[in-house]
Symmetry: C2
Subunit: 144 residues, 2 copies
Amino acid sequence: MFSKACEYGIKAAIFIATKSYEGLRVSPKEIAEKINSPQAFTAKILQSLVRHHVVNSIKGAHGGFEIQKDRISEVKLAQIVKAIDGDKIYVGCGLGMEKCDENHPCPAHDKFKIVRDELKNMLENTTLEELALNIKSGTAFLKT
Amino acid sequence: MFSKACEYGIKAAIFIATKSYEGLRVSPKEIAEKINSPQAFTAKILQSLVRHHVVNSIKGAHGGFEIQKDRISEVKLAQIVKAIDGDKIYVGCGLGMEKCDENHPCPAHDKFKIVRDELKNMLENTTLEELALNIKSGTAFLKT
DNA sequence: TTTATTTCGGATAAATTTATCCTATTTATG
DNA sequence: CATAAATAGGATAAATTTATCCGAAATAAA
Ligand code: FES
Ligand code: FES
């Protein structure tokens, strides 16, 4: 469904959000430990999230990654997925045709579109806040 | 969403079905041309579909790939996807946790499960027949 | 201003997926 | 039986994704 990079990116953003509620910045090292991901690879993905304005980075001593508190409820899962995997999953053809075109559809178009649109809808309506609260409340987990 | 191999496999099965209605067998060469896929790679995928009893192969002169007419309406998209990509897409965690476990869920579990179950449902209720008829009727296409 | 800390970014390596090539095996037919 | 036509399957290569390593740049604090 999503690439590994995207899975790590989503989990990293969620973890950063939970820490940002407490006003804390986190390092790639801590993030990788908490979400069970390879550290250097995770750092690369974080750079991408920074460039796409999903999270904020502060360089130098006492630096780290954070998200402004008031941004946590604004960031949608869709933005993170799009930043890392692009929009192929939202607009691409399920059977890999060059593009999904109503006027030249693949044989599974009608069926696939329904699911794809529901996925899109879910991602666009799910906020980082909801996900982070699931972690803070202890009802969900970021690893094993 | 699906691997390239799976996309080719689905399209190949659909094409074989359309030909099987006419009692014709088809070669990997013809299949690859009609679905716009690399021939040798497609042949490999066909072997996999044969082993998983999605399509039938006849070796030797006048051989080729076919599907029994009465099987076309029995084969579900889900069987093809499972044969090639496995069942990760049906039962795996959207955020890549070792397994999707209600008792140890990832933060997106509830949201993701709804979409994943709808995808599963769609794949399990879509037959090769429906898809092949979209091609035969000219309302859908297998390439460009 | 020096030092310690931390993200950034390029180069590279490992693993997986996608793709190609060539030979073996099977089978219908003359 | 010999031959031609076709799928099966192993070996290998190319491309992409995943992962690692290391030095550069930025920043706070002594
Ligand atoms: S053309 Fe394939 S999903 Fe729209
Ligand atoms: S645990 Fe992640 S989808 Fe169920």
